[in-house]
Symmetry: C2
Subunit: 662 residues, 2 copies
């Protein structure tokens, strides 16, 4: 770790002056005082919560994804177009190209994090195969625009051509920022130029049914210094919401976010990943254009979405049908879709909003989503994944097929999917995780997330020692610091009531949630110690959420806990228990134990089951049971699971203050 860091942010945004490793982060707004840690600036401890996952991602997931794409012919698609072969039917969905690009993005961040000849050679070989399929004018697709395939842009609503190209650009950004120029970057330039020619002023007035090109063009414009790419992104954003996409059965204009212009919408809606990618792109475009109206529109939508359309886990997307957001407060636990990709996309959006505003709420949601959606998806070995992340599994599924899994549900992690967007999305997020952990904001070094590791950023070199989230203590060892007054800004999570800080030479003091600034002239050897209370706590749903009325969840620090059938006494099902909320939950490892009533499993009789007179289930026993972190559920085989469990008093509104009007 000898790379020097320049705090001069104008330097960082001038593509012509950028060195390969000066800003190896996915998003670098031109007009922000904040910038994240590059992939090489935050080195996570391999034994830590995130360091371990990042290591598994590098060691296993990247090769796993590549093997599957080779096996299924998704890579061969490029080879075939490259050699002009029309004889064999194309493999995979029309968006399979994007998976190769997302894998390349993940590899590029990993190579930026730590070089490796074998990985580099794999990367180069994949790029060569993809580049061979590129047309002379920059267009690249294995699903359209070649003999035997439909014509270019003949199905903007569902063709995903620009979506695919967007992921190509994002991969190129990763390469450019982490290692510099490369055949991939040249390929991306040609593609971006093609998009601008084809869809720029005077060209096709269309948009892509799946947003992604917007966020990609903006960042590629930032990374290359080409403002016209950003302008093209702006055009795509402005064109959307006017019903130009061809709707078809079950795919409404809302599904595509083509019902209302971004700047007029009140909430995220429709297909969740589409909505979140679009919003991320809109933030980027707004920031680059000083377009406060557009930025405010996204902030307003985000706020409403978080308050009314977001799960306790941070998961988004209430409907399997449409993979979409539901109405306000439509948050079923059992049919929560909470696609892993929507979790990744939500982190992308919240992070951009943090960079634009510096507000702590975005970092809080990122933490919630990282620990309870992103960390939930991959198995310990990084070779199987959850696609959907429900908060209630009613029936234990079967072990996932070792082959391609058709369905995104069932309560088991699967190695690959028919639509397999999630594995590579997890891979690129874990590879670039450092960006979300730390940032600089003027002369402040900001610790947004807590992960053991070493950080060199903003003139600081420091070591973060912690077993977070298993333990609540975080020790920040200053190894070097600016020789003038500077700020160490640390996030006291929104859940951390009663947190304390101990500054060098001072006794511990209680701090409030939000940003905690420690401002002083730091000297090497200084230690700032945070203590976050990790006592498990009950969390209640908003009374308008019908789906979990009368039920309660248990959280511990940033972790949502769950009851898994595996941990229940023999003969007791997850629906046979009611939590006694009069007794506080007790900590147990990184989980908790709670008192429960065990109910008679036989449904009580009713005149018209399952509806009739009030039911009086019989409590046949009491017990203390274990809850584990949600992100670890189903690791011990198919099971049933609940995050929200009915409370023994049957209510989440224990006392109502009545304020009658006269």
């Amino acid at each position: 770790m000898t790379t020097s860091f320049s705090a001069d942010r104008t330097d960082a945004y001038d593509a012509t002056r950028r060195t390969a490793r000066s800003s190896a982060v996915p998003v670098v707004p031109s007009r922000s005082s904040r910038r994240s840690a590059g992939v090489d600036q935050m080195v996570l401890d391999e034994a830590g919560f995130w360091g371990r996952r990042q290591g598994v991602n590098r060691a296993n997931t990247l090769a796993h994804c590549q093997e599957w794409m080779e096996r299924l012919g998704w890579l061969e698609n490029f080879d075939r177009v490259g050699r002009g072969d029309e004889t064999v039917e194309r493999a995979g969905w029309m968006f399979s190209d994007s998976e190769i690009y997302k894998l390349l993005e993940a590899m590029a961040w990993e190579l930026g994090r730590k070089d490796d000849d074998a990985l580099g050679a794999s990367f180069d070989a994949l790029v060569a195969r993809a580049a061979a399929a590129q047309d002379d004018d920059g267009y690249v697709s294995t699903a359209f625009g070649h003999p035997g395939l439909e014509p270019r842009y003949s199905d903007l609503a569902m063709g995903h051509e620009l979506y695919n190209l967007g992921h190509l650009l994002q991969a190129a950004v990763a390469q450019l920022r982490s290692r510099g120029e490369h055949e991939l970057v040249q390929m991306a330039r040609r593609a971006a130029d093609h998009v601008c020619r084809e869809f720029g002023r005077g060209g096709r007035e269309g948009i892509c049914g799946h947003p992604e090109i917007e966020v990609a063009l903006t960042e590629f414009g930032r990374a290359t210094g080409e403002v016209r790419y950003i302008e093209q992104a702006r055009l795509f954003i402005e064109r959307r919401g006017h019903g130009s996409l061809a709707v078809r059965p079950l795919l409404s204009a809302e599904y595509f976010q083509d019902d209302v212009p971004v700047r007029d919408a009140e909430s995220l809606r429709g297909h969740a990943v589409r909505a979140l990618y679009l919003s991320a792109g809109a933030v980027d475009v707004a920031v680059e254009n000083d377009d406060d109206e557009l930025l405010d529109a996204v902030v307003r939508q985000w706020k409403r979405t978080v308050e009314r359309r977001t799960y306790l886990t941070g998961g988004m997307g209430s409907r399997h049908q449409d993979e979409g957001f539901g109405a306000d407060f439509e948050l079923p636990a059992d049919r929560a879709y909470c696609e892993t990709c929507a979790g990744v996309a939500s982190v992308m959006l919240a992070w951009r909003l943090y960079l634009a505003s510096g507000e702590v709420q975005y970092a809080d949601l990122i933490e919630r989503t990282l620990f309870n959606v992103v960390a939930t998806s991959p198995s310990d070995d990084g070779r199987t994944f959850f696609y959907a992340n429900p908060l209630h599994q009613r029936e234990a599924g079967e072990e996932a097929s070792a082959g391609v899994n058709m369905r995104a549900e069932g309560g088991t992690r699967a190695p690959w999917f028919d639509v397999s967007c999630c594995p590579t999305n997890v891979a690129r997020m874990l590879a670039s995780l450092s960006a979300y952990v730390a940032a600089v904001d003027d002369d402040a070094l900001v610790l947004m997330q807590y992960a053991a590791g070493e950080l060199r950023l903003g003139g600081f070199a420091l070591r973060v020692e912690t077993r977070y989230p298993e333990e609540g203590r975080v020790r920040v060892h200053i190894e070097s610091a600016p020789e003038k007054e500077a700020t160490l800004r640390m996030r006291v999570p929104v859940w951390a009531d009663g947190a304390t800080v101990r500054e060098p030479g001072a006794p511990a003091r209680t701090v409030v949630t939000g940003w905690l600034d420690v401002r002083r002239i730091f000297t090497p050897g200084d230690v700032v110690e945070l203590d976050f209370p990790l006592a498990p706590r009950f969390t209640w749903p908003h009374p308008r959420i019908d789906a979990v009325r009368g039920a309660v969840a248990v959280e511990r620090g940033p972790l949502v806990l769950c009851i898994e059938s595996t941990d229940l006494p023999a003969g007791v099902g997850i629906d046979d228990v009611r939590v006694d909320t009069a007794a506080e939950p007790r900590a147990d490892g990184d989980g908790a134990r709670v008192r429960v009533d065990i109910l008679d499993p036989e449904p009580p009789a009713s005149s018209c089951p399952p509806f009739g007179a009030p039911a009086h289930p019989t409590v046949r026993d009491e017990a203390e049971i274990t809850l584990i972190p949600y992100h670890r559920w189903a690791e011990r085989g198919p099971s049933t699971m609940r995050v929200f469990t009915p409370a023994a008093d049957g209510t989440n509104t224990p006392t109502v203050e009545v304020a009658l009007q006269p």
Copy 2:
């Protein structure tokens, strides 16, 4: 009404001896002591609840359906195949043929009910167009098997060819039983013969992805006296459940009920209409073959489905995705799919189970489903329809498009749908409604449902006077009766605690729910009077139904009531009220009034909205509000609506009896 009725059931089942009008009912089991009233044997009063709907169906819905199918080219599909025209692209889905056949079935019942030259001419003309498309070997399809189309039976999973043919056979049954031989019946014979040749022993071992051919072949076999059709149905039933259908993304073997053989399954599952049609066919096959194991399997599945997978309305199907059943107790109110067709199919199944067993529970579910699903779908004028029937509408939709509606949701009735199975299903059910109203069982005349009208059946001629379900009094006037002791069997609905009966010359007495037998020698002029208590009542969900925990519904007689935003005070939303269950609901017209708390609409603050500390919504007012019958909701324009509303005490388990084990 001069048709004589023969009580000799062997007569009714011998096709060679049947007169056109002797058994004009959709289902005539060979081995049952029970038989329903024919369409001409129960004449409903045009002013009554069902008579009015039957009249509107005849006057408006039949022509409405025909016009749409003409307009969209679904009829032209037949013409084009008939003349061998390959030039124009086929209109509609591959199952659009079935809609013509379902319309023909409805028309045939209506013609059996009351002749009409114009309707008869329309019928004949439609049949001629369909018949012109039939191949010489009996195969008929406008979607497969002709130049420019895929080959016959090349997509058994989703091609719907046998499904379409099944509806052809059902239409032919209606024609044969209500009016006798006809070109349609000949066409159906040729088709049924083709199916037996193609899929019989030694032929294709396949099954159709959408069950329907099974129930149709059995009945067509009964109606024609051809046992081999019934045997072919048996083969289809037995072949199912062995995973022979090609699953594809999002369409699992369970979706097709091809995961487990019918006789081994524990519950209905997968696509609801498919599951219900299959089960109806399985009952028919079981009854014809004295196959108690198969019949018991369906009874077991029905019982579990009704106890755990059925809505208060009788609606079935909890998921939009897959249009399917969910897991046990997965009964979300807002995302209830409850497809109208599944309601029709549930009536079909329950009715067959009644005929097989004589048990009253099936008639109870039929009542629930007729009043709260089937009656809910069509608008007053029979020209718009609900496709899905949710129990909670969170957002007022837009007025349905006057064109083809893409979506099955939105809270407004629509004139037609992209997949438009429901209008014709409602039409054929209303046209044949008499079958579900009355039956004979040996020497008993059974009144299963209460509808004003005149009935000649089982040696009885009687007049039913009632304004049910608006009023609870039912007067049965005997106009003629067998001259020996006979039984009048009347259903005391499961909800009718405290019902009374007054037999001729006796004082009123209280009766228990279930079948009520009045056995005597009836004489003309005798009146039997039933009084069902119609006080509105609170109904609570089973505590395992997470989706409506802590909420309560109001029912009145057979009607489920609902709160519609249209009836709330200005500024009060359906989610701003909580029902005070300490005060009994009061009757109001055919609805009710209940006391409610009106809550402050602002969501209370929470550390991480919408989850956090227990919320204490503020009660800003109290009021009495109106509930209307669910079947009438959304008649006054787009609105929001709830069947289950949170109870003010926040619990549906007020007192729990604790029975601790030592």
